[in-house]
Symmetry: C2
Subunit: 224 residues, 2 copies
DNA sequence: GGCCGTCCCTTACGCTGTAAGCCCAGCGTC
DNA sequence: GACGCTGGGCTTACAGCGTAAGGGACGGCC
Protein backbone atom coordinates (compact mmCIF):
# COMPACT_ATOMS: atom_id res chain seq x y z
CA UNK A 1 0.00 0.00 0.00
CA UNK A 2 2.83 2.38 0.83
CA UNK A 3 5.85 2.55 -1.41
CA UNK A 4 3.65 3.89 -4.24
CA UNK A 5 6.09 3.61 -7.09
CA UNK A 6 9.27 4.71 -5.35
CA UNK A 7 11.11 1.65 -6.59
CA UNK A 8 9.58 -1.01 -8.80
CA UNK A 9 11.52 -3.72 -6.92
CA UNK A 10 13.38 -6.49 -8.63
CA UNK A 11 11.23 -9.53 -9.30
CA UNK A 12 11.58 -12.29 -6.76
CA UNK A 13 13.77 -15.25 -7.49
CA UNK A 14 15.30 -18.13 -5.62
CA UNK A 15 18.66 -16.41 -5.75
CA UNK A 16 17.26 -13.21 -4.29
CA UNK A 17 15.60 -15.04 -1.42
CA UNK A 18 18.72 -16.99 -0.59
CA UNK A 19 20.90 -13.89 -0.58
CA UNK A 20 18.43 -12.19 1.73
CA UNK A 21 18.35 -15.20 4.02
CA UNK A 22 22.13 -15.27 4.24
CA UNK A 23 22.16 -11.60 5.14
CA UNK A 24 19.61 -12.17 7.88
CA UNK A 25 21.48 -15.16 9.29
CA UNK A 26 24.75 -13.26 9.24
CA UNK A 27 23.14 -10.38 11.07
CA UNK A 28 20.79 -12.01 13.55
CA UNK A 29 21.47 -15.72 13.54
CA UNK A 30 19.81 -18.69 11.99
CA UNK A 31 16.68 -18.60 14.11
CA UNK A 32 15.96 -15.13 12.75
CA UNK A 33 15.53 -16.63 9.30
CA UNK A 34 11.76 -16.94 9.12
CA UNK A 35 9.57 -16.82 6.06
CA UNK A 36 7.98 -13.55 7.12
CA UNK A 37 11.35 -11.99 7.83
CA UNK A 38 12.82 -13.05 4.50
CA UNK A 39 9.71 -11.76 2.79
CA UNK A 40 10.09 -8.43 4.51
CA UNK A 41 13.73 -8.26 3.48
CA UNK A 42 12.86 -8.63 -0.19
CA UNK A 43 9.76 -6.47 0.07
CA UNK A 44 7.19 -9.20 -0.30
CA UNK A 45 4.75 -11.19 1.78
CA UNK A 46 5.73 -14.49 3.33
CA UNK A 47 3.45 -16.54 1.14
CA UNK A 48 4.93 -15.10 -2.01
CA UNK A 49 8.18 -16.87 -1.28
CA UNK A 50 6.50 -20.19 -1.92
CA UNK A 51 6.52 -19.48 -5.64
CA UNK A 52 10.29 -19.78 -5.58
CA UNK A 53 11.02 -22.29 -2.81
CA UNK A 54 9.07 -25.40 -2.03
CA UNK A 55 9.07 -24.78 1.71
CA UNK A 56 11.34 -23.60 4.45
CA UNK A 57 13.46 -26.75 4.34
CA UNK A 58 14.10 -26.12 0.69
CA UNK A 59 15.23 -22.62 1.53
CA UNK A 60 17.63 -23.89 4.18
CA UNK A 61 19.00 -26.44 1.75
CA UNK A 62 19.58 -23.54 -0.58
CA UNK A 63 21.63 -21.84 2.11
CA UNK A 64 23.78 -24.94 2.44
CA UNK A 65 24.39 -24.97 -1.29
CA UNK A 66 25.30 -21.32 -1.24
CA UNK A 67 27.86 -21.79 1.50
CA UNK A 68 29.26 -24.83 -0.27
CA UNK A 69 29.64 -22.80 -3.44
CA UNK A 70 31.63 -20.24 -1.48
CA UNK A 71 33.80 -23.02 -0.12
CA UNK A 72 34.38 -24.60 -3.51
CA UNK A 73 35.37 -21.28 -4.95
CA UNK A 74 37.87 -20.61 -2.20
CA UNK A 75 39.24 -24.12 -2.32
CA UNK A 76 39.87 -23.78 -6.02
CA UNK A 77 41.57 -20.43 -5.56
CA UNK A 78 43.95 -21.64 -2.87
CA UNK A 79 44.91 -25.01 -4.35
CA UNK A 80 48.60 -25.68 -4.89
CA UNK A 81 49.69 -28.18 -7.56
CA UNK A 82 52.62 -29.96 -6.00
CA UNK A 83 50.98 -30.81 -2.68
CA UNK A 84 51.09 -34.21 -1.06
CA UNK A 85 47.72 -35.70 -0.16
CA UNK A 86 48.17 -34.45 3.37
CA UNK A 87 49.07 -30.92 2.44
CA UNK A 88 46.24 -30.73 -0.08
CA UNK A 89 43.70 -32.05 2.38
CA UNK A 90 44.88 -29.70 5.08
CA UNK A 91 44.76 -26.67 2.81
CA UNK A 92 41.33 -27.56 1.54
CA UNK A 93 39.86 -28.07 4.96
CA UNK A 94 41.32 -24.86 6.29
CA UNK A 95 39.85 -23.03 3.31
CA UNK A 96 36.47 -24.43 4.16
CA UNK A 97 36.99 -23.26 7.69
CA UNK A 98 37.58 -19.70 6.58
CA UNK A 99 34.16 -19.65 4.99
CA UNK A 100 32.60 -21.15 8.10
CA UNK A 101 34.18 -18.42 10.18
CA UNK A 102 32.41 -15.86 8.04
CA UNK A 103 29.06 -17.58 8.57
CA UNK A 104 28.96 -18.68 12.19
CA UNK A 105 25.49 -20.11 11.70
CA UNK A 106 26.63 -22.47 8.95
CA UNK A 107 28.04 -25.29 11.10
CA UNK A 108 24.81 -25.69 13.01
CA UNK A 109 22.86 -25.58 9.77
CA UNK A 110 25.04 -28.25 8.16
CA UNK A 111 24.60 -30.48 11.16
CA UNK A 112 20.88 -30.00 11.36
CA UNK A 113 19.82 -30.51 7.77
CA UNK A 114 18.23 -33.95 7.55
CA UNK A 115 19.35 -34.80 4.05
CA UNK A 116 22.79 -34.14 2.66
CA UNK A 117 22.95 -31.86 -0.33
CA UNK A 118 24.64 -32.85 -3.54
CA UNK A 119 27.18 -30.08 -3.07
CA UNK A 120 28.27 -31.53 0.24
CA UNK A 121 28.48 -35.00 -1.24
CA UNK A 122 30.65 -33.73 -4.05
CA UNK A 123 32.94 -31.98 -1.62
CA UNK A 124 33.53 -35.22 0.21
CA UNK A 125 33.96 -37.04 -3.06
CA UNK A 126 36.86 -34.80 -3.91
CA UNK A 127 38.40 -35.46 -0.54
CA UNK A 128 38.24 -39.17 -1.25
CA UNK A 129 39.81 -38.42 -4.61
CA UNK A 130 42.70 -36.72 -2.87
CA UNK A 131 43.21 -39.64 -0.56
CA UNK A 132 43.03 -42.18 -3.35
CA UNK A 133 45.68 -40.26 -5.23
CA UNK A 134 47.72 -40.38 -2.05
CA UNK A 135 47.61 -44.15 -1.96
CA UNK A 136 44.66 -44.75 0.34
CA UNK A 137 42.54 -47.85 0.04
CA UNK A 138 38.84 -47.19 -0.25
CA UNK A 139 38.47 -48.69 3.17
CA UNK A 140 40.92 -46.35 4.81
CA UNK A 141 39.47 -43.37 2.98
CA UNK A 142 36.09 -44.32 4.33
CA UNK A 143 37.43 -44.53 7.83
CA UNK A 144 39.12 -41.21 7.32
CA UNK A 145 35.89 -39.46 6.37
CA UNK A 146 34.25 -40.67 9.51
CA UNK A 147 37.19 -39.88 11.70
CA UNK A 148 37.27 -36.34 10.39
CA UNK A 149 33.52 -35.92 10.66
CA UNK A 150 32.50 -32.30 10.48
CA UNK A 151 36.15 -31.33 10.65
CA UNK A 152 36.32 -32.21 6.98
CA UNK A 153 34.14 -29.16 6.40
CA UNK A 154 36.21 -26.91 8.58
CA UNK A 155 34.52 -26.91 11.95
CA UNK A 156 34.42 -28.97 15.08
CA UNK A 157 31.19 -29.28 16.99
CA UNK A 158 31.17 -27.29 20.16
CA UNK A 159 30.26 -29.07 23.31
CA UNK A 160 31.97 -26.36 25.18
CA UNK A 161 29.43 -24.02 23.82
CA UNK A 162 29.91 -20.95 21.66
CA UNK A 163 29.92 -17.61 23.39
CA UNK A 164 27.52 -18.45 26.21
CA UNK A 165 30.21 -19.90 28.44
CA UNK A 166 32.46 -16.94 27.92
CA UNK A 167 32.36 -13.89 30.10
CA UNK A 168 33.17 -13.34 33.76
CA UNK A 169 29.92 -14.87 35.03
CA UNK A 170 30.77 -18.39 34.01
CA UNK A 171 34.36 -17.99 35.11
CA UNK A 172 33.26 -17.05 38.56
CA UNK A 173 30.81 -19.92 38.60
CA UNK A 174 33.55 -22.26 37.61
CA UNK A 175 35.70 -21.05 40.44
CA UNK A 176 32.91 -21.65 42.91
CA UNK A 177 32.61 -25.19 41.67
CA UNK A 178 36.32 -25.76 41.94
CA UNK A 179 35.88 -28.66 44.31
CA UNK A 180 33.51 -30.36 41.92
CA UNK A 181 35.72 -29.99 38.88
CA UNK A 182 39.25 -29.72 40.21
CA UNK A 183 41.01 -30.82 37.07
CA UNK A 184 39.20 -28.46 34.77
CA UNK A 185 39.79 -25.48 37.00
CA UNK A 186 43.43 -26.41 37.21
CA UNK A 187 43.59 -26.72 33.48
CA UNK A 188 41.89 -23.44 32.79
CA UNK A 189 44.05 -21.66 35.31
CA UNK A 190 47.16 -22.83 33.54
CA UNK A 191 46.03 -22.33 30.02
CA UNK A 192 44.84 -18.76 30.52
CA UNK A 193 43.19 -18.21 27.21
CA UNK A 194 44.23 -15.05 25.49
CA UNK A 195 41.62 -15.63 22.83
CA UNK A 196 43.27 -14.87 19.55
CA UNK A 197 41.33 -13.99 16.43
CA UNK A 198 39.74 -16.71 14.36
CA UNK A 199 37.69 -18.12 17.18
CA UNK A 200 34.37 -19.76 16.48
CA UNK A 201 33.30 -20.57 19.98
CA UNK A 202 34.90 -20.56 23.35
CA UNK A 203 38.00 -22.53 22.56
CA UNK A 204 37.67 -23.62 18.98
CA UNK A 205 40.31 -21.27 17.78
CA UNK A 206 42.58 -21.83 14.86
CA UNK A 207 45.36 -23.47 16.85
CA UNK A 208 42.96 -25.89 18.49
CA UNK A 209 41.41 -26.86 15.22
CA UNK A 210 44.73 -27.40 13.50
CA UNK A 211 46.04 -29.50 16.35
CA UNK A 212 43.20 -31.96 16.08
CA UNK A 213 43.32 -31.91 12.31
CA UNK A 214 47.01 -32.72 12.21
CA UNK A 215 46.58 -35.37 14.84
CA UNK A 216 44.13 -37.11 12.57
CA UNK A 217 46.00 -36.53 9.33
CA UNK A 218 49.24 -37.81 10.83
CA UNK A 219 47.50 -40.85 12.23
CA UNK A 220 45.95 -41.58 8.87
CA UNK A 221 49.22 -41.16 7.05
CA UNK A 222 50.79 -43.66 9.38
CA UNK A 223 48.06 -46.20 8.64
CA UNK A 224 48.22 -45.64 4.93
CA UNK B 1 -13.97 -33.29 33.46
CA UNK B 2 -13.61 -36.89 32.39
CA UNK B 3 -11.60 -39.29 34.51
CA UNK B 4 -13.98 -38.70 37.44
CA UNK B 5 -12.00 -40.44 40.15
CA UNK B 6 -10.81 -43.48 38.26
CA UNK B 7 -7.22 -42.92 39.41
CA UNK B 8 -6.13 -40.12 41.70
CA UNK B 9 -2.90 -39.70 39.66
CA UNK B 10 0.47 -39.24 41.26
CA UNK B 11 1.32 -35.61 42.03
CA UNK B 12 3.50 -33.92 39.46
CA UNK B 13 7.17 -33.52 40.08
CA UNK B 14 10.26 -32.64 38.12
CA UNK B 15 11.28 -36.26 38.08
CA UNK B 16 7.93 -37.37 36.73
CA UNK B 17 8.03 -34.81 33.92
CA UNK B 18 11.54 -35.75 32.93
CA UNK B 19 10.76 -39.45 32.85
CA UNK B 20 7.73 -38.74 30.69
CA UNK B 21 9.80 -36.56 28.38
CA UNK B 22 12.41 -39.26 27.97
CA UNK B 23 9.71 -41.77 27.10
CA UNK B 24 8.28 -39.45 24.49
CA UNK B 25 11.68 -38.74 22.98
CA UNK B 26 12.53 -42.42 22.87
CA UNK B 27 9.24 -43.18 21.16
CA UNK B 28 8.73 -40.28 18.77
CA UNK B 29 11.90 -38.25 18.69
CA UNK B 30 13.02 -35.05 20.29
CA UNK B 31 10.72 -32.76 18.34
CA UNK B 32 7.76 -34.63 19.79
CA UNK B 33 8.71 -33.37 23.24
CA UNK B 34 6.39 -30.41 23.59
CA UNK B 35 4.93 -28.97 26.74
CA UNK B 36 1.42 -29.99 25.77
CA UNK B 37 2.53 -33.50 24.94
CA UNK B 38 4.43 -33.96 28.17
CA UNK B 39 1.46 -32.61 30.04
CA UNK B 40 -0.80 -35.10 28.35
CA UNK B 41 1.58 -37.91 29.20
CA UNK B 42 1.42 -37.12 32.91
CA UNK B 43 -2.28 -36.31 32.84
CA UNK B 44 -1.99 -32.59 33.32
CA UNK B 45 -2.27 -29.39 31.33
CA UNK B 46 0.73 -27.83 29.67
CA UNK B 47 0.78 -24.81 31.93
CA UNK B 48 0.88 -26.96 35.04
CA UNK B 49 4.35 -28.12 34.12
CA UNK B 50 5.67 -24.66 34.83
CA UNK B 51 5.31 -25.27 38.55
CA UNK B 52 8.08 -27.85 38.29
CA UNK B 53 10.23 -26.59 35.45
CA UNK B 54 11.18 -23.02 34.76
CA UNK B 55 10.58 -23.33 31.03
CA UNK B 56 11.15 -25.69 28.18
CA UNK B 57 14.88 -25.09 28.12
CA UNK B 58 15.03 -26.10 31.75
CA UNK B 59 13.18 -29.29 30.92
CA UNK B 60 15.65 -30.09 28.15
CA UNK B 61 18.54 -29.41 30.47
CA UNK B 62 16.92 -31.88 32.81
CA UNK B 63 16.97 -34.47 30.05
CA UNK B 64 20.67 -33.91 29.58
CA UNK B 65 21.27 -34.42 33.27
CA UNK B 66 19.24 -37.59 33.23
CA UNK B 67 21.22 -39.05 30.37
CA UNK B 68 24.45 -38.02 32.02
CA UNK B 69 23.37 -39.76 35.20
CA UNK B 70 22.80 -42.92 33.19
CA UNK B 71 26.24 -42.56 31.70
CA UNK B 72 27.93 -41.98 35.04
CA UNK B 73 26.26 -45.00 36.48
CA UNK B 74 27.37 -47.23 33.64
CA UNK B 75 30.87 -45.80 33.64
CA UNK B 76 31.22 -46.57 37.31
CA UNK B 77 29.94 -50.09 36.82
CA UNK B 78 32.34 -50.93 34.01
CA UNK B 79 35.49 -49.35 35.38
CA UNK B 80 38.55 -51.56 35.75
CA UNK B 81 41.21 -50.69 38.34
CA UNK B 82 44.45 -51.56 36.58
CA UNK B 83 43.80 -49.68 33.36
CA UNK B 84 46.27 -47.38 31.68
CA UNK B 85 44.97 -43.90 30.90
CA UNK B 86 44.25 -45.00 27.37
CA UNK B 87 42.34 -48.12 28.34
CA UNK B 88 40.37 -46.26 30.97
CA UNK B 89 39.47 -43.46 28.61
CA UNK B 90 38.47 -45.87 25.90
CA UNK B 91 36.30 -47.92 28.23
CA UNK B 92 34.64 -44.86 29.64
CA UNK B 93 33.85 -43.36 26.27
CA UNK B 94 32.48 -46.60 24.95
CA UNK B 95 30.26 -46.86 28.00
CA UNK B 96 28.92 -43.42 27.29
CA UNK B 97 28.29 -44.52 23.75
CA UNK B 98 26.15 -47.42 24.89
CA UNK B 99 23.84 -45.01 26.63
CA UNK B 100 23.71 -42.78 23.57
CA UNK B 101 22.73 -45.77 21.48
CA UNK B 102 19.74 -46.26 23.72
CA UNK B 103 18.68 -42.63 23.32
CA UNK B 104 19.25 -41.74 19.68
CA UNK B 105 17.95 -38.25 20.30
CA UNK B 106 20.55 -37.52 22.96
CA UNK B 107 23.47 -36.55 20.70
CA UNK B 108 21.44 -33.89 18.95
CA UNK B 109 20.20 -32.63 22.29
CA UNK B 110 23.69 -32.40 23.74
CA UNK B 111 24.89 -30.50 20.72
CA UNK B 112 21.97 -28.10 20.71
CA UNK B 113 21.81 -27.07 24.35
CA UNK B 114 23.23 -23.55 24.58
CA UNK B 115 24.77 -23.86 28.02
CA UNK B 116 26.66 -26.85 29.26
CA UNK B 117 25.23 -28.60 32.26
CA UNK B 118 27.23 -29.21 35.39
CA UNK B 119 26.96 -32.96 34.84
CA UNK B 120 28.61 -32.66 31.46
CA UNK B 121 31.33 -30.47 32.88
CA UNK B 122 32.03 -32.97 35.60
CA UNK B 123 32.20 -35.79 33.09
CA UNK B 124 34.88 -33.94 31.19
CA UNK B 125 36.63 -33.05 34.39
CA UNK B 126 37.06 -36.74 35.15
CA UNK B 127 38.44 -37.30 31.69
CA UNK B 128 41.04 -34.66 32.36
CA UNK B 129 41.72 -36.39 35.64
CA UNK B 130 42.41 -39.62 33.80
CA UNK B 131 44.77 -37.93 31.43
CA UNK B 132 46.60 -36.10 34.18
CA UNK B 133 47.12 -39.39 35.96
CA UNK B 134 48.46 -40.72 32.69
CA UNK B 135 51.11 -38.07 32.54
CA UNK B 136 49.43 -35.44 30.38
CA UNK B 137 50.23 -31.79 30.72
CA UNK B 138 47.21 -29.55 31.18
CA UNK B 139 47.90 -28.18 27.77
CA UNK B 140 47.81 -31.54 26.06
CA UNK B 141 44.74 -32.57 28.00
CA UNK B 142 43.04 -29.44 26.80
CA UNK B 143 43.98 -30.19 23.22
CA UNK B 144 42.75 -33.71 23.72
CA UNK B 145 39.32 -32.59 24.85
CA UNK B 146 38.92 -30.51 21.75
CA UNK B 147 40.29 -33.15 19.45
CA UNK B 148 37.83 -35.65 20.82
CA UNK B 149 34.95 -33.23 20.73
CA UNK B 150 31.63 -35.00 21.00
CA UNK B 151 33.42 -38.30 20.70
CA UNK B 152 34.34 -37.89 24.33
CA UNK B 153 30.66 -38.42 25.06
CA UNK B 154 30.33 -41.43 22.83
CA UNK B 155 29.02 -40.14 19.55
CA UNK B 156 30.32 -38.60 16.39
CA UNK B 157 28.26 -36.01 14.61
CA UNK B 158 26.63 -37.29 11.49
CA UNK B 159 27.18 -35.34 8.36
CA UNK B 160 26.29 -38.42 6.47
CA UNK B 161 22.90 -38.23 8.01
CA UNK B 162 21.14 -40.78 10.17
CA UNK B 163 18.61 -43.04 8.51
CA UNK B 164 17.46 -40.63 5.81
CA UNK B 165 20.27 -41.52 3.44
CA UNK B 166 19.70 -45.19 3.90
CA UNK B 167 17.32 -47.20 1.78
CA UNK B 168 17.30 -48.10 -1.87
CA UNK B 169 16.11 -44.69 -3.03
CA UNK B 170 19.29 -42.87 -2.11
CA UNK B 171 21.42 -45.71 -3.36
CA UNK B 172 19.84 -45.49 -6.76
CA UNK B 173 20.26 -41.75 -6.75
CA UNK B 174 23.87 -42.18 -5.91
CA UNK B 175 24.33 -44.52 -8.82
CA UNK B 176 22.74 -42.02 -11.16
CA UNK B 177 25.17 -39.39 -9.99
CA UNK B 178 28.10 -41.71 -10.43
CA UNK B 179 29.81 -39.34 -12.83
CA UNK B 180 29.51 -36.48 -10.36
CA UNK B 181 30.90 -38.41 -7.42
CA UNK B 182 33.08 -41.13 -8.91
CA UNK B 183 35.22 -41.69 -5.86
CA UNK B 184 32.37 -42.07 -3.44
CA UNK B 185 30.52 -44.52 -5.64
CA UNK B 186 33.69 -46.51 -6.03
CA UNK B 187 34.20 -46.46 -2.31
CA UNK B 188 30.68 -47.52 -1.48
CA UNK B 189 30.76 -50.27 -4.06
CA UNK B 190 33.83 -51.74 -2.48
CA UNK B 191 32.83 -51.35 1.12
CA UNK B 192 29.40 -52.93 0.74
CA UNK B 193 28.02 -52.17 4.14
CA UNK B 194 26.53 -55.16 5.84
CA UNK B 195 25.25 -52.92 8.61
CA UNK B 196 25.99 -54.69 11.84
CA UNK B 197 24.16 -53.92 15.04
CA UNK B 198 25.11 -50.92 17.10
CA UNK B 199 24.59 -48.43 14.34
CA UNK B 200 23.54 -44.91 15.17
CA UNK B 201 23.19 -43.55 11.69
CA UNK B 202 24.19 -44.64 8.27
CA UNK B 203 27.78 -45.49 8.87
CA UNK B 204 28.49 -44.59 12.45
CA UNK B 205 28.68 -48.14 13.57
CA UNK B 206 30.77 -49.41 16.39
CA UNK B 207 33.80 -50.27 14.26
CA UNK B 208 33.82 -46.83 12.67
CA UNK B 209 33.59 -45.11 15.99
CA UNK B 210 36.34 -47.16 17.56
CA UNK B 211 38.65 -46.63 14.61
CA UNK B 212 38.47 -42.88 14.95
CA UNK B 213 38.69 -43.06 18.72
CA UNK B 214 41.82 -45.16 18.64
CA UNK B 215 43.32 -42.98 15.98
CA UNK B 216 42.99 -40.06 18.34
CA UNK B 217 44.02 -41.87 21.50
CA UNK B 218 47.10 -43.31 19.84
CA UNK B 219 48.04 -39.94 18.45
CA UNK B 220 47.64 -38.37 21.86
CA UNK B 221 49.67 -41.07 23.54
CA UNK B 222 52.48 -40.43 21.10
CA UNK B 223 52.47 -36.73 21.91
CA UNK B 224 52.31 -37.31 25.61
C1' DG C 1 -11.92 -19.08 61.72
C1' DG C 2 -8.93 -16.77 58.83
C1' DC C 3 -5.04 -16.64 56.07
C1' DC C 4 -1.43 -17.97 53.07
C1' DG C 5 1.00 -21.19 50.04
C1' DT C 6 1.08 -24.63 46.82
C1' DC C 7 -0.66 -26.87 42.89
C1' DC C 8 -3.35 -27.17 39.00
C1' DC C 9 -6.52 -25.14 35.55
C1' DT C 10 -8.40 -21.81 32.00
C1' DT C 11 -7.85 -18.33 28.85
C1' DA C 12 -5.31 -15.78 25.71
C1' DC C 13 -1.28 -13.77 23.04
C1' DG C 14 2.21 -13.67 19.65
C1' DC C 15 4.99 -16.37 16.99
C1' DT C 16 5.83 -20.04 13.57
C1' DG C 17 5.09 -22.66 8.80
C1' DT C 18 1.84 -23.07 5.31
C1' DA C 19 -2.99 -24.42 2.90
C1' DA C 20 -6.47 -22.13 0.02
C1' DG C 21 -8.12 -18.86 -2.76
C1' DC C 22 -8.35 -14.20 -5.01
C1' DC C 23 -6.63 -10.63 -8.18
C1' DC C 24 -4.46 -8.73 -11.80
C1' DA C 25 -0.77 -8.02 -15.43
C1' DG C 26 1.01 -9.96 -19.47
C1' DC C 27 0.68 -12.89 -23.06
C1' DG C 28 -0.86 -15.93 -27.29
C1' DT C 29 -4.49 -16.72 -30.21
C1' DC C 30 -8.34 -15.82 -32.94
C1' DG D 1 -9.52 -5.55 -30.15
C1' DA D 2 -11.41 -9.31 -27.37
C1' DC D 3 -10.68 -13.56 -25.44
C1' DG D 4 -8.98 -16.80 -22.01
C1' DC D 5 -4.85 -18.68 -19.77
C1' DT D 6 -1.17 -18.55 -16.80
C1' DG D 7 1.90 -17.21 -13.26
C1' DG D 8 3.36 -14.33 -9.59
C1' DG D 9 1.99 -11.70 -5.93
C1' DC D 10 -1.44 -10.75 -1.90
C1' DT D 11 -4.97 -11.83 1.75
C1' DT D 12 -6.98 -14.64 4.91
C1' DA D 13 -6.91 -18.32 7.96
C1' DC D 14 -5.45 -22.42 10.69
C1' DA D 15 -3.03 -25.46 13.75
C1' DG D 16 0.65 -25.87 16.80
C1' DC D 17 4.27 -23.88 19.53
C1' DG D 18 6.05 -21.60 24.23
C1' DT D 19 4.31 -19.07 27.82
C1' DA D 20 2.16 -14.66 30.44
C1' DA D 21 -1.72 -13.75 33.56
C1' DG D 22 -4.98 -14.82 36.71
C1' DG D 23 -8.62 -17.92 39.07
C1' DG D 24 -10.02 -21.49 42.25
C1' DA D 25 -9.44 -25.47 45.38
C1' DC D 26 -7.01 -27.51 48.86
C1' DG D 27 -4.06 -28.12 53.06
C1' DG D 28 -1.18 -26.35 57.10
C1' DC D 29 -0.44 -22.94 60.49
C1' DC D 30 -1.47 -19.13 63.60
Amino acid sequence: MAQANSEPRAPLSRELLLRAAVAIADADGLEAVTMRRVGEAVGAEAMSLYHHVANKGDLLDGLVDLVMAEIDERVERTAVPGDTWQQAMRRRILSAREVMLQHPWAPRLFETRPTMSLAVVRYHDRLVGLMRAGGFSYDLAHHALHALGSRALGFSQELFDPAASAGPASERMLRELADQVPHLTGMLAEIAHDDPVGTIGWCDDQAEFEFALDLLLDGLDRRR
